[in-house]
Structures are given as structure tokens and as C-alpha cells.
């Protein structure tokens, strides 16, 4: 039997969906416009602004940089974050409380401050080249996601199975790889996706760390918009949206979306 919904509640829900979806509709509409300026509703239908993206070399180059930075930065953050989350949960009683707060700092500190301090410490402080500083900066930026999301799946992890494995003759490192890791797999994948998306979308850290010749896609979009206020921006946005939807579809098909929320 279908549940009865109060008409006001139905209307409210519809408004929420409208509010969520309207900007996306507008972007998609604007990207299809045949005009040389951003407008909605689109005037005339055309795919030329999509074609234009691929003619602009900077978009292609920065997109590749963005993917590389997001992939390597996220991988680095997991390399630090998974062991950190493990230690924080395994030794919850022994370790001081503030230690877990330390790993959330990058989200608590205002982004602009965080970005600036990275510029001071990484680029200027250590004199690291632009590309590795970007990776390091992004790794720090997304570290909270690695630690928190992996930590959440470790919170419900029963550490006595680790002891069971050791009692059966499994050394500690092998225990971590063959017993702990397979049981927090979903958390690690979820952390990877969240961190990856955060990194791909980041502006405030990248704006400080990008340098001559090396930029990320969001920074390039901003730069492009300052010069040309044309529908290319909308087209790039639509492509980014499609990539996100594609990732989600792959997750849904392989693991089911529910593990991202559980």
C-alpha cells in the first residue's frame, strides 16, 4: 500500500528538488547556447562551445594536471591517512584526544588561510617545484577525508579479529594487509572518491600553489572566465558533471552507492 503524503509536504519536497536541480539545468542550457556570451535560456542550439574546449590547449593541459594531482595527492593522503586512522582507532584509549582533531585541521582552518600557509611553507619554505608542491598541498587538503572516512569504518571494526589472526600465526604487518584491510575496503574506496572529488574541485589551495606553466582545471576556468565570458565555462562544467555522474554510475554498478553513505 502506498504511503499517503500530505500535499504541503509534497510541494515542499518538489521545491527542494527544484532548488537542487535548477542550477544544473541552467548550466546545461547555457552550455548549449549559440551566443558568444553566457545566457539562459539558450538562444539557438549549438555544440560549438563543447568543441571549443578541445581547441583550447590550456584546458586539456590543466585537466590532465588536475587528474594527476588529484590521483597522486589522494593516494598520498591515503598512504598517511589509513595508518593514522588505524592507530587512532586501535589505540583510542592510550592516545590523547586532541590527536584525532589534529587530522581535521585542514577543514577547520579557513581554506584561504590554509592555502596561504601552504604557499609559505611548501613553495617558499622548502623551495619545492610547483608540481610536487601541488601534490603535497592537495594530499594535506584531503587528509581529513582519508582519516575520517577510513576511521569511521575502523570504528565498527572488531580489533579482536586481528588478535585472532596473530594467535593463528599471522605476523602483524601481514595481519594488517590480509585481515584489517579487506574489512575496511569500502571505507578506503569511499575516502578515495571523496578526497579525489575534493581535490579535483579545489580552488583555494591550488590558487596559491599553481605557478608558471602549471595550473589546475578550476584555476584555468577562473582565468578563462576573466578573459572571455563565453559559454565554454558552462560546457566545461557540464563535462565535469558528466565525469562525476560517470564515476557514480561505475560505483553504483560495482559496489552500490549505499556504501558511500553508510
Amino acid at each position: 500500500m502506498p504511503t499517503r503524503v500530505h500535499p504541503l509536504l509534497g510541494a515542499f519536497a518538489a521545491l527542494v528538488f527544484l532548488f537542487l536541480l535548477a542550477p544544473l539545468v541552467i548550466i546545461v542550457g547555457a552550455s548549449l547556447s549559440d551566443t558568444t556570451y553566457l545566457t539562459f535560456p539558450p538562444q539557438g542550439l549549438s555544440l560549438r562551445w563543447f568543441a571549443n574546449i578541445f581547441q583550447i590547449e590550456a584546458f586539456r593541459r590543466t585537466a590532465i594536471t588536475s587528474l594527476q594531482v588529484a590521483f597522486l595527492g589522494t593516494a598520498l593522503s591515503l598512504l598517511i591517512g589509513v595508518p593514522a586512522a588505524y592507530a587512532l582507532n586501535r589505540y583510542r584509549v592510550e592516545l590523547p584526544r586532541w590527536l584525532s582533531t589534529l587530522f581535521v585541521l585542514p577543514i577547520l582552518v579557513p581554506e584561504i588561510v590554509f592555502g596561504f600557509s601552504l604557499l609559505k611553507s611548501i613553495t617558499i619554505g622548502s623551495g619545492l617545484p610547483v608540481f610536487p608542491s601541488l601534490i603535497l598541498g592537495h594530499a594535506l587538503l584531503v587528509l581529513p577525508y582519508s582519516v575520517r572516512v577510513v576511521g569511521a569504518s575502523l570504528a565498527s571494526f572488531d580489533f579482536s579479529i586481528e588478535e585472532a589472526a596473530m594467535s593463528l600465526g599471522c605476523p602483524p604487518l601481514r595481519t594488517f594487509l590480509t585481515v584489517v584491510l579487506p574489512n575496511i575496503q569500502a571505507g578506503v574506496i569511499a575516502a578515495f572518491i571523496l578526497a579525489f572529488i575534493t581535490s579535483i574541485n579545489d580552488v583555494s589551495v591550488s590558487v596559491f600553489l599553481t605557478g608558471p606553466g602549471i595550473s589546475t582545471l578550476p584555476i584555468q576556468i577562473l582565468a578563462h572566465m576573466e578573459q572571455f565570458f563565453d559559454p565554454t565555462i558552462a560546457s566545461v562544467s557540464v563535462l565535469l558533471m558528466l565525469v562525476t555522474v560517470g564515476v557514480m554510475a561505475i560505483i553504483e554498478a560495482t559496489l552500490g552507492l549505499t556504501f558511500l553513505t553508510k
Binding site: 572488531d158 579482536s160 579479529i161 588478535e163 585472532a164 589472526a165 596473530m166 594467535s167 593463528l168 600465526g169 599471522c170 605476523p171 602483524p172 595481519t175 585481515v179 579487506p182 574489512n183
Partner: protein, 352 residues
């Protein structure tokens, strides 16, 4: 294969709190010894030190002629059964059981054969391909047992293995554990807070309190002859009456309790106790009578137990619980005497 376990002068601390105080214990080859006590008595700490999950402050753990004290947990070769089963959720029942064999480098066909044989023994062969999540609590604990036994460890340890099961299953499982342990002749250390469980399953039981073993004996001896007041209370001696020896008459000791009550007791039970002592009895060990020698008391609340009436009595020595006759029972409020039945009384040192 199986070996004796020797624990020598074990001390352990959590921060500044000492949780084990110079504890020594030995378990003979093939024997099952339980550590029994309420939470915080140190029984689980002892087990975790033997397993290698905790380091003692001082003391030694030996298994046969191996000194385990400084060995890491994975090199100790001890089968462990946990309270919460601790099965690997991502492995099938068969792979769970075969896990220890895999660590020992047993070839795949052989380890599957041996794991299957062990699953047969615990009656779970049809469940070999399932994941642990699809099993009931009792089945999970059987898998855990099979997993610990299949590596043929010289020592098996159980940490409250039945606490998460319901009452009926607990009784079935403890019989099953006992049978498997006997059949394999595996030396076992069993930790529990449940007296009935410890008594029913063990060759000997160590009753622990505050990081010490207060008495280590067979269940029969513990039940009938507790060595001190703590153990007496623990095994259900309701009455601990302080008394003093005031004279002797051949094999009879004349003793006095508060209020000047005198009792004639047999010298045999006294051992080395000369002066002050505690007379410990269960409610069954005191007979409520209308007159005769005994402790004068006023009968209080009467409850019907089926096999007897039980009274809460007020005596000069304090509150005493005693059982009265089923036929013509005295009413609450009546004056009576409580006569100790000597076979059911223990004479204990008041200092212990």
C-alpha cells in the same frame, strides 16, 4: 604435542594500577584450568599476557620447555577462542578454519582437507562455503573452536567463550568444548565469571580476586572446603560468623560467638587455627530448631524454596540465613536456635 603451562610470579600494571600481583599458576599437560572471578580480578589480563597481547611488568610464562615471555603473539602457537567469536568476516567458514594452517605453510589441498575434517567434527561441514554473517551465535563459536583446534596447538585458551550465547546453548556448548578438549588432550586455560560454567567444565578452578589467585582446587573441594572467607562467599556460603576458641575437651573445641553463644565443634576442621576463627556455612548447614544447642536467633522473613523453608534470622552475631523443616515450620518472629551441621561447616582463618 600438548604441553604444560607454567606462569611464574606474574605482575602487571595498567598505568600505576597493579592488576596482577605476583601470580603463579601451572596447568598440567592435558588439564583444563579455569580462571574464575568477577570483572577486574585480572583473569583476562592473565590470559592476554599468556597470549602475548600484553607485556607483564615482571614474571615468566612457559609452555612446555619454551619460554614464551618475550615471544610475539604470532610466534606462540596458542589456540584462542574469543567471547565475540572474532571470525574473519570476509572469509568463508572453511577459509576461517584453514587460516592458521595457511600461516603455517600447509599446502592448499591438505589444509582444505584438514579444515573440512575439523568442520565435520563440530558438525558444520554443510556450512563450509558460507560467510560468518550467515551463522547463528552457537555456529560461530563452533567455527571459532574448529579454527583454534585445527592448528593442533599445545595450549588452548578460552576468553568467556559462552557469554554471548543463550542459557540452553551455553550448557550444550560447554559439554561440547569439554568433549573436544578431552578427546584432543589439549592443555587449556579457560576464563569465565560464571561459577557454574567453570565448575562444570574444569579439572581445576582458580578463584581470583584483585590480581591474585585465592584458591586453586578441584570444583568439589572449592564447593565444599573453601580456603578463605572470600572464596566461601564466592561459592555461596551465606553465613560467616566470627567466633573465638575458649576451651578444648579432647577432640572437641568449645567456641564462643558474639552474645556469649557457645558451640561444641570437632577439632578435625580446625587445622592450625588456635584462637579467632570464622564459622562459614551455607543456609543448608544451619538447622532451625525450637531448642537444643545452637545459636539463639529471632526468625525473620520466611521464604519457601521447595526443598526447605529459608529464614533470615537475627542473632547477636548479626543476620544469619538458615533453612528450616518443611513439616511444621516455625513462624516468622519465633525464637529458635540454629544448629550447625558439622560436615557442612568450614572453619576459616579470619585474617584471610
Amino acid at each position: 604435542m600438548t604441553a604444560s603451562l607454567t606462569i611464574e610470579n606474574l605482575s602487571a600494571h595498567y598505568g600505576t594500577t597493579q592488576v596482577l600481583k605476583d601470580l603463579s599458576l601451572s596447568v598440567a599437560a592435558g588439564e583444563l584450568v579455569s580462571l574464575l572471578g568477577s570483572s577486574g580480578c585480572g583473569k583476562t589480563t592473565t590470559l592476554r599476557i599468556v597470549a602475548g597481547f600484553l607485556q607483564p611488568t615482571s614474571g615468566k610464562v612457559r609452555l612446555g620447555d619454551r619460554n614464551l615471555t618475550t615471544l610475539p603473539a604470532h610466534a606462540r602457537d596458542i589456540g584462542l577462542v574469543f567471547q565475540n567469536y572474532a571470525l574473519f568476516p570476509h572469509l568463508t567458514v572453511l577459509d576461517n578454519v584453514a587460516f592458521g594452517l595457511k600461516q603455517r605453510g600447509v599446502a592448499k589441498p591438505d589444509r582444505i582437507k584438514r579444515a573440512m575434517a575439523m568442520l565435520e567434527r563440530v558438525g558444520l561441514a554443510p556450512f563450509a562455503d558460507r560467510l560468518p554473517v550467515a551463522l547463528s551465535g552457537g555456529q560461530k563459536q563452533r567455527v571459532a573452536l574448529a579454527r583454534a583446534l585445527v592448528i593442533e596447538p599445545p595450549l588452548l585458551m578460552f576468553d568467556e567463550p559462552l557469554s554471548n550465547l543463550d542459557a540452553k546453548l551455553r550448557i550444550d556448548m560447554r559439554v561440547e568444548i569439554r568433549q573436544l578438549q578431552r578427546a584432543n588432550g589439549t592443555t587449556s586455560l579457560y576464563v569465565t565469571h560464571d561459577q557454574e560454567e567453570a565448575f562444570s567444565i574444569s579439572d581445576r578452578v582458580a578463584i581470583m580476586n584483585a590480581g591474585r589467585i585465592l584458591q586453586l582446587d578441584t570444583p568439589e573441594v572449592l564447593y565444599r572446603k573453601p580456603a578463605n572467607a572470600f572464596v566461601a562467599r564466592f561459592v555461596g556460603f551465606e553465613n560467616l560468623i566470627r567466633m573465638k576458641v575458649i576451651g578444648r575437651d579432647g577432640a572437641t573445641v568449645i567456641a564462643e560467638a558474639a552474645g556469649g553463644t557457645r558451640l561444641h565443634l570437632s577439632q578435625d576442621a580446625f587445622g592450625s587455627i588456635k584462637d579467632d576463627f570464622v564459622l562459614a556455612t551455607r543456609a543448608d548447614g544451619l538447622v532451625v530448631r525450637r531448642d537444643g544447642e545452637g545459636i539463639p536467633a529471632t526468625l525473620g522473613t520466611r521464604t519457601y524454596l521447595g526443598r526447605a523453608y529459608q529464614y533470615k534470622c537475627q542473632a547477636a552475631a548479626g543476620e544469619i540465613t538458615a533453612n528450616g523443616p518443611l513439616f511444621d515450620p516455625p513462624e516468622a518472629g519465633a525464637q529458635a536456635v540454629l544448629t550447625p551441621v558439622s560436615e557442612q561447616c568450614c572453619i576459616l582463618d579470619p585474617e584471610d
